[in-house]
């Protein structure tokens, strides 16, 4: 679906955001894009969406070149940015204006999602709370049924019940023809949802792997005392002891802890790259 080869991008020639980036996104997955602030996550999303033009390399989405922004390509994509554009109209009017641009839009699905999220569809969008606005647009985004759905920090502004509804709705809306790419800092919110995981740092992709592959290669444990320091990729103190990440040498499968994985990738980027490439 999304194919990125040797992609380079920078806002100035002296300071590239990323160089030689390679990435493949396959249908049927909810990808989680993780990275620290300034790692280039949003720039990558905008390159995929065609809002930015790569300085080198190639990025294609279903064979389209995104930065040409041709209608045929734009019909296949819905991008939900972190900051939303909300016109001063009701949800009904919003649908009447925007849905026509998306040939696979489903009004029934939209009604279901709005009901699930408990959004008042009769109110003007600008009169809704931030969380309600976000839920209204998430519902619309999902109902467009575009093959590629990109979301930048979708859970920001959502309360705890809404985050759980969000996970439920996303899990039910993924199909074999669709890719959902979610960039987030709130890894705990989406831990059970995103798989595969993409971690970006220092202008490159450190890891792009499914939870099963990660669990096969790494163990996530809580121990009272950290021993065997040379093997530990990352450790952090918690109330229950120490959370550690170590290579999975005894093939005992543990649940992937995204926060530990992310911190381990930032602490030992080369080790993580070698393990997964």
């Amino acid at each position: 679906m999304v194919s990125i080869h040797n992609l380079g991008f920078g806002y100035s020639k002296k300071k590239p955001v990323f160089e030689g980036l390679n990435l493949e996104l396959q249908t049927g997955n909810v990808y989680g894009l993780l990275g620290r602030n300034g790692a280039g996550k949003s720039s990558l999303l905008r390159n995929i969406a065609g809002l930015l033009t790569p300085t080198s390399g190639q990025c294609t989405v279903k064979g389209h070149t995104p930065h040409l922004r041709q209608p045929k390509f734009l019909q296949e994509l819905f991008f939900l940015p972190e900051e939303l554009h909300i016109p001063p109209i009701s949800m009904k009017e919003f649908v009447s204006v925007y849905a026509v641009f998306y040939p696979n839009f489903s009004q029934n699905q939209l009604n279901e999602y709005l009901k699930e999220f408990e959004v008042d569809s009769t109110a003007r969008l600008t009169e809704l709370s931030l969380g309600q606005k976000k839920k209204a647009l998430i519902s619309f985004a999902l109902a467009t049924n575009t093959p590629l759905l990109i979301m930048d920090e979708p859970t920001n502004g959502l309360d705890i019940p809404s985050k759980s509804q969000f996970r439920k709705i996303i899990a039910s809306s993924i199909t074999n023809e669709r890719v959902i790419l979610i960039s987030t800092h709130q890894v705990r919110d989406l831990e059970s949802l995103i798989d595969p995981i993409i971690i970006m740092d220092n202008r490159e992709v450190l890891l792009n792997a499914g939870a099963d592959v990660i669990a096969e290669k790494l163990s996530f444990k809580t121990v009272q005392q950290v021993t065997n320091h040379e093997k530990v990729l990352y450790s952090e103190h918690s109330i229950r002891g120490f959370g550690i990440v170590i290579p999975n040498e005894d093939k005992s499968y543990t649940k992937v802890d995204l926060e530990l994985l992310f911190n381990a990738a930032l602490e030992k980027p080369q080790v993580i790259k070698q393990l997964f490439n």
Partner: protein, 261 residues
């Protein structure tokens, strides 16, 4: 599917602008009508009879000129804010369709609405004043439209045509500026516009002063002088009336195509 221009998609984009802005358009229209009526009311002479022709003419040109620039800036305001720019650029329509949908309101709907509304107010004012003061020298129209069409494509130097020329240049220049500048686009565009006018005026002064010199002294025959001035004015008018507005629009369209966020 046509990737450059599809009339159905263009229609959807035009509808989008209308649905999102109709309340504001309506309120602005009412304010505009009230301002025009107030101008006519205050523009009567001491007896309450004639409305000065300059006031009638000025209310059309200044109203269209001033508000038209604001309107042109407003229609392309999506570029003043990153989320709205993203939403606009990612709408499944071509750059040309997006551009034309804005131009439809600025260059077609707005002039039609303004001219028809002004004509209606002017007609009503004429009828009211004529019925109360039969001997008032108020003319039925401020300009004959047949005269307008006859002279627009010639080089005749009429005040109305100059007004239209300035208007179209200001509108199209504003559209270009709105696409170029994200923040405070109107102020920056105005600054750029007035700076450009000042530079052009200065260059023209230099050209006449140092290259051509005093026309009366350097060109001995009146025929030569007249011919030079005619060519100079013709080229200037063609540039201002036809070439420059299209040039600003072309630049604006190319900027829209290359816009990144």
């Amino acid at each position: 599917m046509n990737q450059t221009l599809d009339i159905q998609r263009l229609g959807w984009l035009i509808k989008r602008i209308w649905v999102e802005n109709r309340k504001l358009f309506g309120m602005t229209y009412v304010v505009m009508v009230l301002l025009c009526i107030a101008t006519y009311y205050l523009g009567r002479d001491a007896d309450g009879a004639i409305v000065d022709r300059d006031i009638r003419f000025g209310s059309l040109i200044v109203g269209m000129f001033g508000l038209g620039v604001l309107f042109a800036n407003y229609i392309f305001r999506d570029f003043s804010h990153t989320p709205s720019t993203m939403s606009y650029l990612l709408l499944p329509a071509s750059h040309l369709e997006k551009f034309l949908s804005g131009l439809f309101y600025v260059l077609i709907v707005y002039p039609i609405v303004i001219i028809s509304t002004h004509s209606l107010i002017d007609y009503a004012a004429f009828e009211i004043i004529k019925s109360s003061y039969p001997n008032t020298p108020m003319e039925r129209t401020i300009i004959s439209y047949s005269e307008l069409f006859e002279t627009y494509f010639s080089v005749q130097d009429t005040r109305f045509l100059n007004g239209i020329t300035i208007l179209t240049n200001f509108w199209t220049f504003t559209i270009m500026g709105t696409l170029f500048f994200q923040r405070l686009s109107l102020i920056k565009t105005a600054f750029l516009g007035f700076s450009s006018i000042a530079i052009i005026a200065w260059l023209e002064y230099l050209m006449f002063h140092y290259i051509i010199g005093d026309l009366n002294n350097n060109i001995s025959f009146n025929a030569e002088k007249d011919s030079f001035l005619t060519v100079y004015i013709t080229v200037g008018i063609v540039l201002l009336r036809f070439v420059l507005p299209l040039f600003w629009l072309l630049i604006a369209y190319l900027k829209l195509k290359e816009k990144e966020v």
